[in-house]
């Protein structure tokens, strides 16, 4: 008998039977007994984690089942984040009398105990340099420690130390926590802020989708950015302590996060601030996206997003650093970054003040580049798109809900245009668009014509 070397990632090992064997062997019915599983190259990783993963292999009864299961185990082990590489060898058990006995060997290569790196990061219209130190698998069960320092344009500074641990050795249930400090400036609103905080985050799957439950305790020090900062923003300078519980539910059925061609996305976010501290509000947000493939690789995408927040006590105001903002080259195209909605009026270029509710929607038609240069390779990173997007940002008066909602529906800002989208890695995208704002309200800061945007979140 020969050896099957299961090569990642095709699960089709079954279709490539060992060469020595005749083609008509019915793998589904060859009885096997897995005598022994050997895992080689284990250093720091604790045995129980691996035993838990490989145990199902012992139950394999047919050859196909054995191969299939080996592959599943390999994938699960890769997901643990403990090993750089996982290889499989299947062999007959040498010292066994039974002819059907097999021995499965996993060759694993653990990550180095410590690794460092330097990356450039693209945020929403901001670039920064990131220095990181990573300790994967500190205690042998996938406990990860991650230290980072970011140094960005626009005076962005930050560092963080995060620890995470899969619960029950299940990489999908992740408990993480960390401390961080972040300093950033927000020129559209004329303030800068230093955040220092700690958070605890539990991510777990359910039948419907992924959940994340996060507690965040953060001390925020807000200051005026310059002497020209409006008084309305300056009034909010000072220290605040937010202790909030946030639940995010994501059901992502799309085939791709950046340029999907089919599937839908639902993201529900709820935040409750007021477990101690002096920031008290509750906030709900919703995001929906549908994608449908048409002829010639054309994709239609419809998106809708909205959010509302209210203070826990009626007389309280929600601070500027908690409010919603709207506008920008990846969300409400045709408007400046955070350019929609209430602005301070005491200065020619007033500061965006934000508001307590917003909605926006967008319809895109994505097509490949004309004449499809670089098809199947570099060209697939690009799309042209035509879009219409609109939305509104305003405050909701809960005593006159109907009137407020009517206002939100009446003062729509919208714009349309076309442009080129470039996918950057798995998380970010870049857009260059020509936009025509169609409906603008007084105080809005518009950006007609060419608009360039780069970022992680988009609509």
């Amino acid at each position: 008998m020969g050896t099957v070397y299961a090569k990642a990632p095709e699960p089709a090992t079954v279709n490539n039977p060992p060469q020595e064997g005749p083609d008509d062997i019915d793998f589904e019915h060859i009885p096997v007994k897995v005598e022994r599983v050997v895992v080689e190259g284990v250093g720091r990783t604790k045995d129980d984690v691996i035993i838990k993963e490989v145990r199902p292999l012992l139950k394999a009864e047919t050859f196909q089942e054995m191969v299939q299961k080996s592959h599943e185990v390999k994938q699960r082990m890769e997901k643990l984040g403990l090993f750089k590489r996982v290889g499989i060898f299947i062999d007959t058990a040498k010292d066994s009398a039974n002819k059907d006995s097999y021995e499965i060997t996993f060759e694993v290569r653990e990550f180095r105990p410590i690794s460092g790196g330097m990356n450039t990061l693209i945020g929403n219209n901001d670039a920064s340099l990131l220095f990181g130190v990573k300790l994967p698998n500190v205690l042998g069960r996938g406990e990860k420690v991650n230290g980072e320092y970011t140094h960005g344009t626009k005076q962005t500074r930050g560092y963080s130390v995060m620890m995470s641990k899969p619960l029950n050795a299940n990489p999908e249930i992740l408990l993480s926590g960390g401390i961080y400090q972040f300093h950033g400036s927000y020129p559209w609103s004329g303030y800068k802020e230093t955040d220092r905080g700690l958070d605890i985050d539990l991510t777990f799957p359910s039948v419907l989708g992924m959940h994340s439950l996060r507690w965040d305790g953060v001390w925020r020090d807000l200051r005026s950015l310059s002497r020209t900062t409006s008084f309305a923003v300056r009034e909010q300078a000072g220290h605040s302590l937010k202790s909030s519980l946030k639940h995010v539910f994501v059901r992502d059925m799309r085939d791709d996060g950046i340029l999907p061609s089919s599937g839908s996305l639902l993201r529900l976010t709820q935040e409750y601030a007021g477990l101690g501290g002096n920031v008290e509000f509750s906030k709900q947000e919703l995001e929906l996206q549908f994608n449908k493939s048409l002829f010639w690789d054309t994709v239609v995408q419809l998106s809708l997003a909205g959010g509302v927040m209210r203070p826990l006590h009626k007389k309280d105001d929600i601070r500027i650093n908690d409010r919603f903002f709207l506008g920008g080259p990846l969300t409400l195209r045709g408007f400046s970054l955070k350019g929609v909605g209430p602005h301070s009026d005491d200065h020619p270029a007033g500061n965006a003040l934000g508001a307590e509710a917003y909605w926006m929607c967008a319809a895109h038609i994505y097509t490949p580049l004309p004449f499809r240069p670089g098809k199947g390779g570099f060209g697939d990173l690009f799309r042209t798109h035509f879009f219409v997007n609109g939305g509104n940002l305003g405050n909701i008066n809960f005593n006159d809900l109907q009137g407020s909602l009517k206002d939100m529906g009446n003062d729509i800002r919208w714009a349309c245009g076309w442009g080129i989208v470039l996918r950057m890695g798995r998380v970010a995208r870049m857009e260059l668009n020509y936009v025509v704002p169609m409906a603008v309200k007084q105080g809005d800061s518009v950006n007609p014509g060419l608009q360039f945007g780069i970022g992680l979140s988009f609509l």
Binding site: L222, R223, S224, R227, T228, F231, R234, G238, H239, D346
Partner: protein
């Protein structure tokens, strides 16, 4: 040469923030400070009192707005600051310059020599009394633990209520360390205060105000600080006794209090 000191351009001053168009002396002038009853520390209170006295002396109307975050709002990070139409001006010296530029001047008929003496005495208050107040409020163990830190932290929830006072204390300590005050003993600080009061007392003599019959900004500044020292009740109050030893200064404080504050209240 003579023009140099009075013609300080307004907008280049670091202690102002321009936020719009200008008017002569609008009705809704507002002075910002922390909450006087619960929050403000006595060195800050002295500064606020000086500015208020100065504005009263000029006969200018304003209202006092108490904000827990007045310090962070201020363009210079120090209280008090005034919001006049388009401008924000903080601290006494820039406020004096601003008010002078609007045509209200307490010292227009003083000679150059007198004016230079007045500025010198104002510097003396700044370099002695202000540092001594900071020393007592933040570096003296008893006063800082019992009075200053709880007051400074009172508007914030835990743990900011102890972190922010500690941070402030660290800042004050660094500041007093840089000019040599941190290494003084409380006796030496008292001696400094006594010398300062001695000089003020000599200068005041038996006049109603430091420079004759009319109040000047020096009077406002001295009143702000001495009145604060006299009236603040502290677990350790060596400064009040020192000021009391100079009857003409104590009488001066009483006089100004009655003239500008008791009248305002009525």
């Amino acid at each position: 040469m003579a023009g140099d000191m009075s013609s300080s351009p307004l907008v280049v001053d670091a202690f102002q923030a321009e936020i719009g168009a200008s008017e002569p002396w609008p009705v809704d002038v507002c002075l910002y400070q922390q909450y006087a009853a619960e929050q403000i520390t006595f060195p800050d209170y002295a500064h606020c009192l000086s500015v208020k006295t100065f504005l009263y002396m000029c006969g200018l109307d304003f209202r006092v707005e108490q904000k827990t975050n007045a310090e962070e709002m201020s363009p210079s990070g120090k209280v008090p600051f005034i919001h006049v139409g388009a401008f924000l001006v903080s601290e006494l010296d820039p406020i004096i310059a601003f008010v002078n530029a609007r045509g209200f001047n307490l010292v227009s008929d003083m000679s150059d020599t007198e004016r230079s003496e007045m500025r010198a005495y104002m510097s003396m208050i700044e370099s002695i009394l202000v540092n001594a107040e900071l020393y007592l409020a933040w570096l003296d163990e008893t006063v800082s633990t019992e009075i200053t830190k709880p007051r400074y932290g009172c508007p914030y929830p835990w743990p900011l209520s102890w972190m922010l006072p500690l941070r402030k204390q660290k800042d004050v300590r660094a500041r007093l360390s840089s000019n040599g005050w941190k290494d003084k003993t409380i006796e030496q600080v008292c001696e400094e205060v006594r010398t300062c009061c001695q000089a003020l007392s000599e200068r005041l003599d038996e006049q109603p105000y430091f420079f004759g019959d009319n109040p000047t900004e020096l009077d406002a500044l001295v009143f702000g600080h001495l009145y604060t020292l006299l009236t603040t009740s502290l677990p350790e109050g060596p400064f009040a006794e020192i000021v009391q030893k100079f009857p003409n200064l104590a009488a001066f404080c009483k006089r100004i209090d009655e003239k500008f504050f008791k009248q305002e209240e009525n």
